[in-house]
């Protein structure tokens, strides 16, 4: 488990859930302020889901806005016996998957990923930032290489720390489907990593050969 992301104590989670449920019910009856509170509470998870699914910060904000708008117009379909988090995240992930399907073929290039700002503002170790930057760019490009359904479960599991149960609710599948999808997703990402390292090795080899050729010709 990542030490920098501590889990909240369970007592808190329940009161947070019921608070959000109350806001959602109020918003459903026309309380705009209540919905504004929900937007503040979920801007980070929704934005991050969109960012990791779509690959660029610009598209992510666009998708996040659209997600909140859809949630607002569909509030009358929200079942208050369910968790609000599952409901709104499922709207977000369905929208992102639709958007990816429409994109079909145009992938975000490595250069684009490296050029856009993505580091959190409160990075405490600036000397690490180049390494972090490279590592994050690698993660982003690996994510873009796997299928959207795999990307979805990886994001929900490793960034949002959702349980199998919650992921099943968000993706509207069974827990066993989630487990097998995660299994295949991890294989896919491991393959992407292998492909990347193989490509790096090839590039290194080519550089060595080229270097030798140069030194011989001099």
């Amino acid at each position: 488990m990542n030490a920098q992301r501590p889990a909240p104590p369970t007592g808190d989670t329940h009161s947070v859930e019921s608070q959000e449920r109350a806001w959602a019910v109020a918003a459903r009856q026309g309380d705009e302020e209540a919905f504004a509170k929900l937007v503040e509470a979920y801007q980070r998870p929704i934005y991050n889901l969109a960012y990791r699914m779509l690959g660029s910060p610009g598209e992510a904000e666009d998708a996040a806005q659209e997600t909140f708008l859809r949630a607002y117009t569909r509030l009358h379909t929200y079942d208050s016996s369910r968790k609000f988090s599952s409901w709104i995240l499922s709207i977000g992930s369905h929208y992102c998957i639709d958007r990816l399907r429409r994109r079909r073929g145009k992938t975000v290039s490595m250069e684009e990923i490296m050029s856009e700002r993505w580091l959190p503002d409160d990075d405490p170790r600036p000397e690490q930032s180049t390494l972090d930057h490279e590592r994050e760019a690698l993660i982003q490009s690996m994510l873009q290489e796997v299928a959207p359904q795999y990307r979805e479960v990886l994001i929900l599991r490793y960034w949002h720390d959702y349980s199998y149960e919650d992921i099943a609710e968000i993706t509207q599948t069974s827990i066993s489907a989630v487990k097998s999808r995660l299994h295949r997703a991890r294989n896919a990402i491991a393959d992407a990593l292998e492909g990347h390292e193989a490509a790096n090795e090839e590039a290194d080899q080519r550089r060595k050969v080229h270097g030798n050729a140069l030194s011989r010709s001099v």
């Binding site: 980070r44 590592r135 690698l138 995660l182 491991a190």
Partner: protein
């Protein structure tokens, strides 16, 4: 292997796995690759959303509500206008046509009463009455025109009712 990476193996199963990995290099490579990939993912943090995003979202939502309300008002206005025009046209043209009908046959009152007693006859009477109106409006006697008119009127009424109903439910 995947269960081990998630830390969900029993100690006995974990031991079995480690024993196999010590002997099988292919599996060991795969396991290392998987662990590496998962460790990368776990090391990654959530990023901060752009500043002011909630305000922009609420702004979009308010714009959307305003747009929807405006469209609804337009739709309602057009429907009322069409209804008034249709009624006025019928009134203007039906009155002389009805007067002519009455003048040509004195026993029309009796036949109307007889028709009213039977729903089937009443329906027929209604249809022939509409045909009279259509003759006055379009100069045609075909039932096809009557059918088209009735369908259009029904379609317009349905769309209108749907739009009004959705507007009522979307007041939030």
């Amino acid at each position: 292997m995947h269960l081990a990476i998630d830390g969900m193996l029993e100690p006995a199963e974990q031991y079995e796995l480690e024993r196999h990995l010590a002997e099988c290099s292919a599996c060991r490579q795969r396991y290392e690759r998987l662990s590496e990939a998962v460790a990368l993912l776990q090391a990654s943090q959530m990023v901060e959303p752009p500043l002011g995003m909630p305000d922009r979202v609420m702004h979009e939502i308010r714009l959307h509500k305003r747009r929807k309300r405006r469209m609804l008002a337009w739709a309602r206005g057009i429907m009322w206008a069409l209804l008034v025009i249709a009624l006025a046209a019928i009134a203007i043209l039906a009155v002389p046509a009805a007067q002519e009908m009455l003048a040509s046959d004195q026993s029309v009152y009796a036949s109307i009463v007889r028709n009213l007693l039977s729903l089937y006859q009443f329906g027929l009477g209604l249809a022939s009455g509409m045909r009279v109106i259509l003759v006055a409006l379009f100069g045609q006697t075909s039932t096809a025109t009557l059918a088209i008119y009735a369908t259009l009127a029904a379609g317009v009424a349905t769309v209108w009712l749907r739009v009004i109903a959705r507007g009522a439910s979307m007041r939030a």
